[in-house]
């Protein structure tokens, strides 16, 4: 697992989400990328119900990723995160008295997975309660483990198919300049997805003609 960058791609003016995604697919295929199946990432939100006096209650996010189908990730808002087996979901059901599942807040991202040489590209549609909210693009440069080293490389590659909407170095990496993007650190990827989901969730629904 290499260095990953997740970013949001704005929907092209006058086009639907699906049309923009199709245009991205077409660009990637023109570049020479090869389609390799599909991927999905989902995120469920839990509200803590127990009141700890004096402390603001933190949300708990439980996320799944098709890249790690046997694992499940629990992330506290701005706090620690843990990687658990897939049956962590069942445990959460048992913890109903402490954590309430906010079903309406479930976010999903599904799409196609492309490979271009050593790059792995995932273009997905982010949906929330069955309405498309936006487009996500994940780019992973597999051979490198130091984000600072290969960021320019990745950025240059992203420019080739995203044009101007290329993000800056993700904040998860900025926090640890010398740090490794270790194999266990798909946490970094999931944190980026979570940030993206939260950003899209806060966005105003741009009318009902999105789909």
């Amino acid at each position: 697992m290499g260095v990953t960058c997740v970013c949001q791609v704005p929907v092209t003016e006058g086009k639907s989400v699906q049309q923009t995604v199709d245009a991205l697919h077409k660009k990637l295929e023109q570049l020479g990328a090869v389609k390799q199946g599909s991927f999905w990432v989902d995120c469920e939100t839990y509200h803590p119900t127990g009141n700890v006096s004096g402390q603001p209650s933190k949300l708990l996010y439980v996320m799944h990723n098709s890249e790690t189908p046997l694992s499940c990730m629990g992330l506290f808002e701005g706090g620690p995160c843990l990687i658990a087996d897939a049956n962590f979901d069942v445990l959460m059901v048992k913890l109903k008295s402490h954590f309430q599942n906010a079903k309406a807040h479930k976010v999903e991202c599904r799409g196609s997975r492309y490979r271009y040489c050593d790059f792995l590209i995932k273009v997905g549609t982010v949906t929330m309660s069955s309405s498309a909210r936006g487009i996500s693009v994940e780019v992973e440069y597999c051979p490198c483990v130091v984000p600072g080293d290969c960021w320019n490389l990745t950025k240059e590659f992203m420019q080739s198919f995203l044009g101007t909407s290329v993000p800056e170095l993700p904040s998860v990496f900025a926090a640890k300049p010398e740090g490794l993007f270790a194999p266990s650190d798909c946490v970094d990827t999931m944190t980026q997805y979570l940030e993206l989901f939260n950003k899209l969730r806060k966005m105003q629904m741009p009318g009902s003609n999105v789909r």
Binding site: M1, Y141, P143, C144, V146, D149, C150, N152, L153, E156
Partner: protein, 307 residues
């Protein structure tokens, strides 16, 4: 055109000359025939000898006559024309049935090919002789007597010495971590970790580098049974390319008299890959492998083809 006429006249003389040769041959064979048969049975010994000698003289005279005739004809035939660069084979171009037997054009091709071959062989040998320190030149230039002398002294180095050389090289480069393993006997296998960029497995035979495989920093270098995996290729295209380049480099750096210098040069070369990912895509101009032969030790391998 004049040449063609000249040949036409000659052809007549040729046919006469050929029949002259035939006549000479038959008269010569008649001489030997009669010598083989010997003297015929006659009443008296004198008569026998007389007849035999007169017959023999007659035959010798006919041989002489035929020979003179042939000499006269050969004067008519004349020397083959020297003007044509291919001498007599040049006459093949006059063959009117060229379409059916393209002998002349094939002959020309063969001449051209052999000239070219000779020219290239000359160039190659002068190039190889210049690089007397390289492996290929050494095999060719040095006599067969010398090679066995050089090899044993450097092949049978004590393991202690190899360890020393490797650890000295390891101290020279702070961003290279070199671990030494001896999985089978005395031959060393080095695991070279370059910063957080790559891991290279270098298989040594004494102090000669035998083989190298480069993999990503996050790839496995060990088998399931905990041994170094010296065979599997990297799963990333970048490192497959780097492995190719490294193999070329280790073929390039050869100095049988001072094997430690070779290892040091190779490590210096490998170290320049620390900036592998920092170069941008467009700056990394893809250059063919042959360009690497001209990259001296310590230079940046700016010829990476990362995609």
């Amino acid at each position: 055109m004049a040449d063609a006429l000249h040949v036409g006249v000659n052809l007549d003389a040729f046919s006469h000359a050929i029949s002259g040769i035939q006549a000479l041959r038959s008269s010569v064979s008649r001489v030997f025939e009669s010598l083989k048969d010997g003297m015929k049975n006659r009443e008296t010994l004198e008569g026998r000898e007389k007849i035999f000698i007169s017959g023999f003289q007659e035959q010798l005279q006919s041989v002489n006559r035929d020979l003179n005739e042939l000499e006269r004809l050969s004067g008519l035939v004349g020397r083959p024309s020297e003007s044509h660069p291919l001498h007599n084979s040049g006459l093949l171009s006059l063959d009117p049935v060229q379409d059916k037997t393209p002998l002349y054009s094939q002959l020309l091709q063969a001449y051209k090919w052999s000239n070219k071959l000779q020219y290239h062989a000359g160039l190659a040998s002068s190039l190889l002789n210049q690089q007397s320190l390289k492996r290929s030149a050494n095999q060719m230039g040095a006599s067969a007597k010398r090679r066995p002398k050089v090899q044993p002294s450097t092949l049978v180095l004590p393991p202690q010495y190899v360890d020393d050389v490797i650890s000295r090289i390891g101290r020279m480069f702070p961003d290279l971590t070199i671990e030494l393993f001896r999985p089978n006997g005395t031959s060393a296998v080095l695991l070279v970790t370059l910063g957080k960029v790559l891991k290279a497995i270098v298989v040594m035979r004494s102090l000669f580098i035998d083989r190298t495989v480069v993999r990503g920093f996050n790839e496995n270098v060990y088998n399931e049974d905990g041994k170094l995996d010296i065979w599997t290729k990297s799963q990333y295209q970048v490192f497959q390319k780097v492995t190719d380049h490294a193999t070329t480099a280790l073929l390039h750096y050869q100095l049988p008299q001072m094997p430690d210098v070779v290892v040091r040069s190779f490590m210096t070369w490998l170290r320049s890959y620390i900036k592998l990912f920092r170069q941008s895509l467009h700056k990394a101009v893809p250059v063919s492998l042959s360009a690497l032969w001209t990259v001296p030790a310590g230079r940046t391998p700016s010829h990476l083809e990362r995609l």
